[in-house]
């Protein structure tokens, strides 16, 4: 194979895996939108908050330590050497579930039967609240997250692909990040698990039922309250997974919450209501922006990657507003 073709392959492959990372965030949006019609602006911040909490628990940080030190003049910062990664992940998940309870109890409960835009505004408030809470609890410095997910380029793949190049070319093999591969496997597992759960269990049916018709759902004995707590817990879990992957890739810091913006074009492409759509949309965006950067970038001075996704989304809004897999009539936010 010629080096040019191998470059193309490498770009596509990396694009696919970058796309999976976007999909991970988009998944959380889809879950909540499907079950409650709420576009959850706080999804990105939830991922940030989950990652911050995970690092905090893992390194044994004392929550609110800055606040405590400022008020009482103490010098506390750590309570020990921290928790094992698995225990810390479990602890973070417990906190995300607790958060789902609090959100239902103090936010959603009062907004039943309100316009979607009102609920959307509430999630904007929630996003700023969580952002502040995360800073206050764990501090605003950039943290490294290491839960044992492999990182760095794969030498094995480099060696394999070097053999593919034509004899005598100076091709050095493809670069693939092990983290991206892990993220791909995790995302696929997550999608399969969520699909099976929503297709074949009582709770999954109840989720779909609530999304379809509140009144009918109530009449067959489904409690909206329980369903909402479960949905927000699940999307808390997805936020945690996204937080782990993105945190391991680029450190845990405020900009993590902005990945939510990249999820928007993914949702517009895939449709707001489709779990497979979130995955396919992510893949298209990932591959599209990498290819555009490689082939169109040089013509217009580069940096296409930053806006290509939004352009693609705009084109989709013009010609297929429900997305590739979305239901025909859906509301836009």
């Amino acid at each position: 194979m010629s080096p040019a073709f191998l470059y193309f392959l490498e770009t596509v492959l990396n694009g696919l895996m970058a796309g999976i990372m976007y999909s991970l965030v988009a998944l959380g949006f889809v879950l909540i939108f499907k079950a409650s019609g709420i576009f959850n602006f706080a999804q990105g911040v939830m991922a940030l908050f989950a990652a911050l909490t995970l690092v905090g628990l893992q390194t044994g940080q004392v929550p609110f330590s800055h606040l405590i030190n400022a008020v009482f003049g103490t010098q506390i910062h750590h309570w020990g050497s921290g928790l094992h990664a698995i225990v810390a992940i479990g602890g973070t998940m417990a906190i995300m579930v607790a958060m789902a309870f609090v959100i239902e109890r103090y936010v959603l409960k009062y907004l039943v039967n309100q316009e979607p835009i009102i609920l959307f505004m509430a999630t904007i408030g929630l996003a700023y609240f969580l952002e502040g809470l995360g800073d206050l609890m764990w501090g605003s410095d950039v943290k490294a997250l290491d839960v044992g997910v492999p990182t760095g380029g794969s030498f094995w793949w480099e060696d394999v692909t070097r053999e593919w190049a034509v004899e005598g070319s100076d091709y050095f093999g493809m670069y693939i990040d092990k983290l991206d591969v892990t993220a791909t496997i995790v995302a696929l597992a997550l999608v399969i698990a969520l699909s099976v759960f929503s297709q074949y269990t009582k709770m999954g049916r109840a989720l779909r039922a609530v999304a379809d018709d509140h009144q009918a759902a109530l009449s067959v004995g489904i409690s909206l309250r329980t369903i909402w707590i479960i949905v927000w817990s699940i999307s808390g879990f997805v936020a945690l997974v996204a937080g782990i992957m993105w945190g391991a890739k680029s450190g845990v810091q405020f900009s993590l919450s902005l990945i939510a913006l990249k999820a928007l074009p993914v949702l517009i492409l895939g449709g707001f209501t489709s779990i497979p759509g979130a995955i396919v949309g992510g893949l298209i965006i990932g591959v599209g922006e990498k290819l555009a950067e490689l082939y169109i970038g040089p013509l217009v001075g580069g940096a296409i990657e930053n806006w290509f996704a939004y352009m693609l989304a705009l084109a989709f809004l013009l010609f297929r507003p429900q997305g590739l897999f979305g239901e025909k009539i859906i509301e836009r936010v």
Partner: protein
């Protein structure tokens, strides 16, 4: 919906005599702001009977059903269900206690198949918690299969085998009504509320639906309260009829007695104003 339930179903003749009250409504009043939907309405529903609620448009029939299954909370009056006087109740609690219903303007889950729609009705009877379900193995799987069998029996009963896998949004109106009945039946209710089960149906569909309602009542002994506008259907199906007009009860009795009642005739035909 078990075989035992079928065997123990009371004979049709015995139904009339049964004075076992399932639901007792006493002096219920419901208002929305200044609009009075129901005023001091009292009646009861006995075990095993088909109780019709009739009345002109806007008489408060659907409001009455909404009060019974907890969508609305009356300002005054008491409701006693299965011997228990109840406090304010949420609809899903009513469902848990065995009150199932269908809606005037079909409320199905349109994106889901017939099978899944009816399966949602089994929700109150399924006991395994979310962690077992997430694993979908062992007890949760066995439970799912057992309930699936029960649902298949209902599908057979309603003769809708051919649309088991079809998303209900694509079905014609008459079939959707039938699926909705199936979903309510899947709950194995002790009280089944039907809000205009035959509205918008043609003659043949009405006959089918009447047959299903009678079969449910006679084979499974299910107590039914139904709202219907087709007087022929009401007179044929029901054991007792309660008549509402402008939110007040104006008559209560057997179909023949109600048909002869002057107040009812006036409500339906209008009274000359002089």
């Amino acid at each position: 919906m078990s075989m035992a339930a079928v065997a123990s179903a009371p004979a049709p003749a015995a139904r009339q005599g049964s004075a076992d009250v399932v639901l007792n409504i006493e002096h219920v009043s419901l208002a929305f702001g200044g609009v009075k939907a129901l005023t001091d309405v009292s009646f009861d529903i006995r075990a095993g009977e088909i109780r019709a609620i009739i009345g002109p448009n806007g008489a408060g029939k659907t409001s009455m059903l909404n009060v019974i299954n907890g969508f609305y909370h009356p300002q005054e009056g008491t409701i006693t269900f299965k011997g228990q006087k109840r406090a304010q109740m949420k609809p899903h609690d009513a469902a848990m206690q065995g009150i199932a219903r269908t809606f005037q303007n079909i409320a199905l889950f349109h994106g889901m198949s017939t099978l899944d729609n009816i399966m949602t009705g089994r929700g109150t009877l399924m006991k395994r918690n979310i962690f077992w379900q997430a694993l979908w193995s062992g007890p949760a799987e066995r439970e799912e299969i057992a309930h699936r069998e029960a649902v298949e029996k209902i599908i057979d009963f309603l003769e809708i085998e051919h649309i088991r896998k079809v998303p209900v949004g694509r079905l014609p109106y008459g079939l959707q009504k039938r699926v909705e009945l199936g979903r309510a039946l899947a709950m194995e209710p002790s009280l089944l509320l039907l809000d205009e089960p035959m509205a918008g149906m043609n003659l043949e569909e009405k006959e089918d639906m009447s047959r299903f309602i009678l079969d449910v009542n006679q084979q499974f002994g299910t107590t039914i309260a139904l709202i219907e506008h087709d007087m022929g259907v009401v007179m044929d199906l029901s054991d007792r009829v309660v008549v509402l007009d402008y939110g007040k009860k104006i008559a209560d009795g057997t179909p023949d007695a109600v048909r002869a009642n002057q107040a009812v005739i006036d409500a339906y035909l209008g009274v000359p104003h002089d």
